[in-house]
Subunit: 327 residues, 2 copies
């Protein structure tokens, strides 16, 4: 059962999600690199969610939400609009449950993510890349099919599911004192904060967002949600803004926000490619970029820091641009 | 103790090497992909030696050779000429033993490999990219320092060390019926054959080489070593030719040879990048390319096949060329 709208999920919801999705998702490995440790000045533990099913942490939240539906509701199918990883994750979760899935994607979504979504058996509707067009197309799909919307981040069961990555990480490396996570709509960051601070209140959570989409920093600084501002970044997975729900969860758990430039994101991607031999998407390298920026800035760090490497779905023909030398 | 020149190493030498290098090398993970399984038509187990120390299997052979030296010999240092991964591996092994390392590299060697070698503390001498220039420069270094040459593949302790990857793989996945491995000078292929067939004579070994450097196929077909022929491939780690020693080991163990085009290698690299999120160098994707070619050709396959993903050291600025669409 998911919490009613308005009730933020708790550590118990994250633990229940971990039980619910066990066996449906991978227990992803934790990677380390002596080079990265030396650059940051502490032991850095990279939670490899780019090796998760569907290539991103999103499978956790989508599975938790879809598996929590009652049979009758589930049978009518699930639906969402998404530019990427949530679309594929929802398709995967629906296939697992054996129910229909309808996804509205902007025509600008990376081809790899469109293909993955269709490959998992979802009905994909492409639309213009505006929020209005996405919402209109989704409303039409729901009206036609009776499917239940599973929002990519503004949804308690999705948030609780995303938190399971951090629950696992803290089991794998109990010494971690700070968990660093990318922030977009705030589903992963909220789940991370609930899991980390519910597990041990002395563990801090840092959220990292592109400087070009710094609504979380502006909002938490102002003490109220501010959704205006520029929204451009090479991190196509981090262009959303916080909802009231995720804003209040980040605020309640005292999540600190770090911003990074696109060049810093590219440098972190290159480091992961050359030192760890891992292909990550820009969003997936953003938390590491933020940690490196904090270390350069002289921030106090504990002996062990956890970093969520959130996804690895990138079109190969974009890699040259993404991995090119910072300008 | 290493075997005298002429005596091929045995499975006991591989087992002794595994004990000698334990704790100095990583027990690398085995990766799988439902997509690759579907393409090949069996379960494919990828031994991730690109995640080995130094980014390639070469650390195994170099460590075994350097750790097997007596103290007095070791103290005078070790030396080799190498275009890439053996250079870095020897430097790593020498640093582990606390002895000097001198490496001669052609000026055309990938920059990432030059930097890694120097980064591990070796003295790097760059020379013209010809075998004559490399041998002359190495002879000068050995004459000056008294260092012991550790050949990248024509060396019993190196061959035995390389075989430990397959010994591990067969422990990790006992059901494997065929092990697929890239072939260049034949050190890894020889070690693989000794390990696989010594462990269980019913396990077959397939060697894969670029069609542009097909000396192993020509030699094994002819029943004698043939070193003439073209030697071009995007797989910069696979440009060497078999020695008499490695030729006779591959022949004795009935290693079958498969050749692949550069486009097939690129397609396998792209598959590893998109599906498994792994950065591998062209040589590292060559065995998978060979298995895919065999599957397309209708070759009989057992239920479980092991593939050695041999290395992941690639210059980022070459990735676009390497991962571009096959022409």
């Amino acid at each position: 059962m998911t919490a009613a709208v308005g009730d933020p999920p708790t550590i118990d919801d994250v633990r229940a999600a971990a039980v619910r999705i066990e066996g449906h998702v991978h227990r992803t490995p934790v990677m380390t690199s002596a080079t990265i440790d030396a650059l940051v000045g502490c032991r850095v533990h990279l939670k490899a969610e780019h090796l998760q099913r569907g290539g991103a942490f999103k499978a956790r939240g989508a599975l938790n939400a879809v598996l929590a539906l009652d049979d009758e509701t589930a049978a009518r199918g699930v639906a969402a609009h998404s530019s990427g990883n949530h679309a594929a994750a929802l398709a995967l979760a629906a296939r697992q449950r054996g129910v229909p899935c309808h996804v509205v994607m902007p025509s600008t979504a990376p081809r790899s993510k469109q293909e993955a979504t269709a490959g998992y058996g979802a009905e994909v509707t492409l639309c213009e890349p505006t929020l209005a067009a996405r919402e209109a197309a989704l409303a039409e799909v729901i009206d036609r099919t009776g499917a239940t919307e599973v929002h990519p981040y503004d949804h308690p069961a999705v948030i609780a599911g995303q938190g399971t990555a951090t629950l696992e990480l803290l089991e794998q490396v109990p010494a971690i004192g700070v968990v660093v996570v990318p922030v977009s709509g705030g589903g992963l960051a909220s789940g991370t904060a609930i899991a980390a601070r519910g597990h041990d209140p002395s563990v801090a959570v840092w959220g990292v967002e592109p400087a070009g989409v710094a609504d979380a920093q502006r909002s938490l600084t102002a003490g109220q949600r501010i959704t205006e501002g520029n929204t451009t970044s090479i991190a196509d997975g981090l262009l959303a803004v916080l909802s009231e729900r995720t804003f209040s969860i980040l605020q309640a758990h005292e999540v600190g926000i770090v911003t990074v430039t696109d060049d810093e994101i590219r440098a972190a991607m290159a480091l992961l490619a050359t030192r760890l031999k891992q292909v990550v998407e820009p969003s997936g390298a953003t938390a590491l970029a933020g940690l490196l920026a904090q270390a350069r800035g002289g921030a106090a760090l504990p002996g062990d820091v956890g970093v969520i490497v959130s996804g690895g779905n990138v079109d190969l023909d974009r890699l040259p641009v993404l991995l090119g030398s910072p300008s």
